[in-house]
């Protein structure tokens, strides 16, 4: 047995590569080594992952200048892209702010800038305020176009339509407030809407007056006859367009004010009804309503009125509510003029008893009895 192992060992000693074979394999391996240089395993870096840039930077430091350049260029290009995008976006949006209909960037102003800014308004009230601001912006554009020379009629028409459209939106908003019975917001919105329109009408009217004079800016700045005539022509055009603009704004403003007035009347009336003073719109401010509920079916309210110079009376309004109709009865309870000799608690007691006796009898009180 020992021999066999020994034989194996002895035999194996001579089993080796010749020098040429060894060199052959070595050169093949050398080629393989050169073809597959050292590389650190890494995932494909995502350009959207900040962490991956650090990995990339680390490997590039290890494997030479070219990679460093590549990595830095990659990072640079990404930051340039991001910065460029931000700058472009903000500058386009900024440039679009001062545009008027007919400009290239006007759609961006309407659809991007205003949509974004409008999205901030959350509550109904904020939305209403923003819509009024939008009308103001449309007014500004409309005015700008009106005072600018050589504006095509179509463009002016677009601006006019825009104004109408946005004014309509505010009107719808007010109507919505009305439906929701939100009198405060409806009145507030209507009021600020007509204020804005008023302001603009005033400013453009002033412009119209100024342009109406012969001393228009174009005429002053020109010296030759030809340019003067041109300036005259343009100022004439301007006058016409401004006049049109004033008319349009006046129309919208009139509409808004009418609505405002209607709302005012409506809500005053409702206030009056609620307070039980049904005598009319004019005198509701002069009376001091007081509401004394006593019975579910009968309501009392009393109003202190001055019947003559020296006599103060209490007007008792009595409302009896039936299922079908309301009966209102008015009684006057005269109160003797105040004098220090009067015993006030006794007076009050007498008034109370007078009222109660009226209720018990369910008839008109006898004035003699009350006296």
């Amino acid at each position: 047995m020992e021999n066999i192992i020994k034989q194996l060992k002895n035999g194996s000693k001579h089993a080796r590569l010749s020098a040429s074979e060894k060199a052959e394999i070595k050169s093949a391996l050398f080629r393989h080594v050169k073809a597959n240089p050292v590389s650190i395993p890494r995932a494909i870096p995502s350009p959207f992952n900040i962490k991956s840039h650090f990995i990339f930077a680390r490997t590039s430091r290890e494997s030479g200048l070219s990679r460093t350049l590549l990595a830095s260029r990659n990072k640079k290009s990404i930051s340039v892209l991001v910065l460029g995008g931000l700058l472009m976006g903000s500058s386009v949006s900024f440039a679009a702010e001062n545009t008027v209909p007919g400009d290239t960037l006007f759609p961006i102003k309407i659809h991007v800038n205003e949509t974004v800014r409008g999205a901030v308004a959350v509550t109904q009230k904020e939305k209403a305020e923003w819509e009024i601001r939008l009308v103001e912006r449309r007014l500004e554009e409309f005015e700008k176009l009106a005072v600018t020379q050589n504006v095509p009629v179509e463009v002016r028409q677009i601006a006019e339509q825009n104004l109408e459209h946005y004014a309509e939106r505010v009107k719808n908003r007010i109507a919505k407030f009305e439906n929701d019975e939100d009198s405060e917001d409806a009145l507030g919105t209507a009021s600020s809407f007509s204020d804005v329109l008023n302001d603009h009408e005033r400013s453009i009217s002033e412009l119209e007056d100024k342009d109406g004079d012969d001393d228009s800016i174009g005429v002053i700045s020109t010296s030759t006859h030809r340019i003067t005539t041109l300036a005259d022509d343009t100022s004439r055009v301007d006058n016409k367009s401004i006049r049109d603009a004033v008319e349009k704004i006046r129309e919208v403003r009139g509409d808004a004010e009418r609505k405002h007035k209607d709302l005012k009347k409506k809500y005053h009336r409702e206030d009056v009804k609620e307070n039980g003073a049904a005598s009319g719109d004019e005198d509701f401010n002069d009376t001091v309503p007081r509401y004394i509920p006593q019975d579910k079916s009968i309501n009392h309210s009393s109003t202190i009125t001055k019947t003559s110079d020296d006599e103060v009376g209490i007007e008792v309004r009595e409302k009896t509510r039936n299922d079908e109709n309301r009966i209102e009865e008015v009684r006057s309870v005269p109160v003797p003029p105040y004098s220090p000799t009067h015993d006030i608690p006794t007076e009050i007691e007498s008034i109370k008893s007078a009222i109660n006796s009226g209720n018990d009898d369910d008839e008109s009180p006898n004035e003699e009895e009350l006296d």
Binding site: Q7, L8, N10, H14, A15, R16, I25, K26, L29, V38
Partner: protein, 172 residues
């Protein structure tokens, strides 16, 4: 590690283990050319691993493991031509360096012939233990077996070889 240093390290490993790996392969596959290819392939695999900057604890054991896996792959391929057929027909040399004595050559061929008759499991254990001179511990690590299993396998391989040798002697 520096790429150049890594290449130097690889060269060093090649000089140190090329013959041993070749010897292991030649006793396992009984084909010098195939053994050369397997040796080259084993070092290629080693470089692929090293170039990824991965740590290798025991380079020798690692190389033997690669070689062993390659040989197993080789066994799985269908053997198209038998060794005897090749030796007879094409003057095929099974791997002995012709510069050595005839006596040595006889010993070698005898050992090779005996090994060829052993089942691969025992052949593997004997080659590793007595030709490659690996420790039982290393063998256990390379073959993913316990040291006990390896010891028993070596013992049985020797027993088997003994039986075969006796049988051969009787026939002769």
């Amino acid at each position: 590690m520096n790429p150049n240093a890594l290449e130097q390290e690889f060269n060093k490993i090649y000089e140190q283990f090329a013959d041993a790996i070749f010897r292991h392969c030649v006793f396992r596959v009984s084909d010098r050319e195939k053994a050369k290819d397997l040796t080259q392939l084993a070092f290629v695999r080693l470089w692929d691993y090293m170039s990824q900057d991965k740590e290798i604890d025991n380079t020798r054991a690692f190389l033997y493991r690669i070689a062993n896996n390659l040989i197993i792959d080789e066994y799985r391929k269908k053997k198209e031509i038998s060794l005897d057929q090749m030796r007879d027909e094409e003057g095929f040399d099974i791997g002995f360096d012709t510069m050595h004595s005839i006596e040595s050559r006889d010993e070698y061929e005898h050992a090779q012939a005996l090994l060829e008759q052993l089942p691969d499991k025992y052949r593997e254990a004997l080659v590793m233990r007595h030709i490659d001179g690996l420790s039982v511990k290393d063998m256990a690590s390379i073959l993913h077996e316990s040291e006990n299993v390896i010891s028993v396998r070596i013992h049985r391989a020797i027993e088997k070889l003994k039986t075969l040798s006796q049988n051969n002697g009787k026939h002769n």
